[in-house]
């Protein structure tokens, strides 16, 4: 019995000593999986943009985990797992699902759904439950002016979304005077056109039509018929489905104008499916594959570079999804990158520390500069990133192609006026 007692004590002692000899201190907490929660409009009217956004996010998760995760100073390796639900592009589903993501699925960090309306509904839940939310596809300024402290915007805000189109018009045709604005009457598009109108009027343009349509509108004839015959530019739109239909019906009605600049849809590669109706349409884009942000340009501006190059992102995205990435794809990817950059800088996944790192962030990525407002009135608003403008044309082989036409410094082609229809 005595011998058994000595043997047992020996085994017990060895079992306690051996692991501590075999592994360095801290290695016990070797790996931690952080859950990223979000809803995605896999169905409903926002599905085109939303699916691209989650594609981008999934690529980021795959790459960061594939590279071994994020190693924190205490030796913990952070890997990411996603948990998401289909919100059916409906606001009423979003709040219920984000609450579930936090309470049931124990999501550590949140990514927003696609669109300003859905994000606005989800941001309040993130703040209420003390979770950091990186928003992608949510440009509306007002969400970031509600006093939230944990919501960070990856996109250029709506107030700066389409104002460049007025500058392009000024350059294209200095004599132009009249602009017609037809817009979706949702939160995002309304925010955009409010500032667009203000900017255009400050520049001396006359807004001859300013009317909103419901997102489910399929027949735009009543709006198009109201456009005066001598209009110089048509601007507005909303999201992919409605804006594509609007562009098609403007073409079918053979409306002659100098310029058409619309929201969200034109930068999507799928917009080319409109055929000739896409020619000359200008769209503002958060990012374009042609946009050239590099480590050198970051160095020149004295900003720290973070993440892959544009070419690396495009190559990886094409290999995984067999399609060209749009700015929605890049937005999803960058939302993940923002989180990665902040966790690395914070050296922790603690909400307060990651928030501190986000507040201090000023990074250059393939997507452009990323910096957030930190004042109490607009905390989380994106202040570093700028829009680029693309225009569709037909190349010599008859293929529809888009070129960056604005800002002039980054342009790959000059803007041109709409051909007579």
């Amino acid at each position: 019995m005595k011998r058994f007692g000595v043997g047992f004590a020996l085994v017990l002692s060895l079992s306690l000593i051996l692991p501590s000899l075999a592994a360095p201190p801290g290695a016990a907490a070797a790996e931690k999986t952080v859950t990223i929660g979000f809803t995605a409009s896999q169905t409903g009217k926002l599905n085109v943009e939303a699916i691209r956004q989650i594609n981008g996010l999934h690529l980021w998760i795959e790459q960061v985990n594939g590279a071994g995760g994020i190693k924190l100073p205490d030796g913990t390796v952070i890997k990411f797992a996603d948990k998401f639900y289909d919100d059916e592009s409906k606001k009423e589903r979003v709040q219920e699902l984000y609450t579930k993501l936090i309470n049931t699925d124990k999501a550590d960090f949140l990514i927003s759904p696609y669109s300003s309306g859905l994000t606005d509904a989800s941001a309040v839940i993130a703040q209420q439950y003390n979770r950091i939310m990186i928003t992608a596809g949510a440009a509306s300024d007002s969400t970031y002016k509600k006093g939230y402290t944990l919501v960070y915007q990856a996109y250029t805000p709506a107030s700066r979304y389409l104002t460049g189109a007025v500058d392009i018009l000024e350059k294209l045709d200095p004599k132009s005077k009249k602009i017609a604005i037809i817009h979706e009457n949702d939160k995002f598009a309304t925010d955009v056109v409010k500032d667009l109108r203000k900017y255009a009027e400050e520049k001396g343009y006359k807004v001859v039509l300013f009317e909103g349509y419901d997102g489910a509108t399929a027949d735009f004839a009543p709006f198009i018929n109201k456009i005066p015959a001598d209009v110089d530019a048509i601007m507005g739109g909303g999201h992919f489905a409605d804006t594509t239909t609007l562009a098609r019906q403007i073409y079918e009605k053979k409306i002659n104008t100098r310029m058409i600049a619309l929201l969200v849809a034109p930068p999507e590669p799928k917009f080319a499916e409109l055929g000739d109706a896409c020619i000359s349409v200008i769209g503002s884009s958060q990012w374009e594959p042609l946009a050239h942000f590099t480590q050198e340009s970051a160095k020149k501006e004295g900003i720290a570079w973070f993440g892959p190059t544009g070419e690396e992102f495009i190559k990886a995205y094409k290999a995984k999804f067999k399609e060209d990435p749009s700015y929605h794809s890049a937005g999803g990817y960058v939302a993940g990158m923002i989180l990665q950059d902040a966790i690395q800088k914070a050296g922790s996944i603690d909400t307060a520390k990651v928030k501190e790192a986000l507040d201090a962030m000023d990074s250059m990525t393939f997507y452009g500069r990323l910096k957030f407002a930190t004042g109490p009135k607009d905390h989380g608003l994106q202040v570093g990133h700028e829009m680029v403008y693309i225009q569709w044309n037909k190349d010599k082989q008859g293929k529809f192609v888009k070129q960056v036409v604005w800002p002039a410094a980054g342009a790959t082609a000059s803007p041109f006026v709409c051909p007579a229809r």
Partner: protein, 285 residues
């Protein structure tokens, strides 16, 4: 201003023909069996998806696709009648209303599961037609011709064929028709089938103009109710005229006020007609 007025009116009237076909289906079912068919909207959406599937998967011209879509609509109507409506046909209106509402929910549920609520589009363009200063998509003109053709066929069927006359007889007085040896159950089933067939064809025509989802039938169902009240419930020709009236209004109203006012005026008119002439503008007094 005149240009805008005429352009809007033309667009509205061309669309009005198709509204008329959708409303004819609803009014036929009401006229014959006094059933308010709340599955009308989803059947319109089924017509849209039927045309879409035949076009995208089998490459069938969307206008030729209307023939099998009409056939499928007729069969779907017969099935809906036999399963959901027949047993409650003599019950109070609320029973048949709820029965068709249940069918509405089933179709939308299955449709959402299969097709999701993402917008679909029939990518088939006929170009544009220019008449003077008026420009409109040729598909709307073809749609209007299709609607006239369908109306003419329905009229000929109802007035010059034996089953058509039987439908009119049952609509007029079911008991008397039964006493004359008309099998009313079969006639009622056929009427319901014809009503849903009209809805499916209207859906197919609408799908050639606009993108759609499984939920897109709802607004056309509502318009059909307004048209039925304008044209007189149970009066198929009145439905076509009502459709033109509604389409014309939808064209005219935006000329003078924001487009968002269109439903306000439409439904205001609906209430007004109910107040002043409950049987509809073209209904029996």
């Amino acid at each position: 201003m005149l240009n805008q007025l005429l352009s809007s009116l033309t667009d509205g009237l061309l669309l009005g023909f198709v509204y008329g076909v959708a409303a004819m289906g609803l009014t036929l079912i009401w006229g014959v069996m006094s059933v308010i068919n709340l599955a009308h909207g989803p059947v319109i959406a089924m017509g849209m998806f039927g045309t879409y599937l035949l076009f995208t998967h089998l490459g069938v011209n969307p206008y030729l696709a209307m023939v099998p879509v009409a056939g499928a609509g007729l069969i779907a109507g017969l099935v809906i009648y036999i399963i959901a409506v027949h047993r409650v046909i003599n019950a109070p209106h609320l029973s048949s209303l709820l029965a068709t509402f249940a069918v509405n929910m089933i179709i939308i549920g299955v449709g959402t599961a299969v097709f999701s609520t993402s917008p679909q589009n029939i990518d088939y363009s006929l170009g544009s037609v220019e008449v003077g200063f008026l420009t409109f998509p040729a598909s709307r003109l073809v749609g209007a011709f299709g609607a006239i053709l369908v109306t003419a066929c329905l009229y000929l069927f109802l007035y010059f064929t034996r089953p058509g006359k039987a439908i009119r007889a049952v609509a007029n007085n079911r008991m008397a028709a039964e006493l004359m040896g008309i099998p009313s159950s079969r006639v009622l089933a056929l009427s319901f089938g014809l009503g849903t067939m009209m809805a499916a064809v209207a859906g197919g025509l609408i799908a050639t103009f606009f993108p759609f989802t499984i939920l897109s039938g709802g607004p056309y169902e509502l318009k059909s109710f307004v048209i039925c009240v304008l044209g007189g419930l149970g009066n198929p020709l009145g439905a076509l005229v009502g459709g033109l009236l509604l389409g014309g209004l939808e064209g005219l109203i935006p000329t003078f006020m924001p487009v968002s006012w269109v439903p306000v005026v439409e439904f205001g008119l609906f209430v007004l007609v109910l107040l002043v002439r409950p049987s509809g503008l073209f209904g029996a007094k």
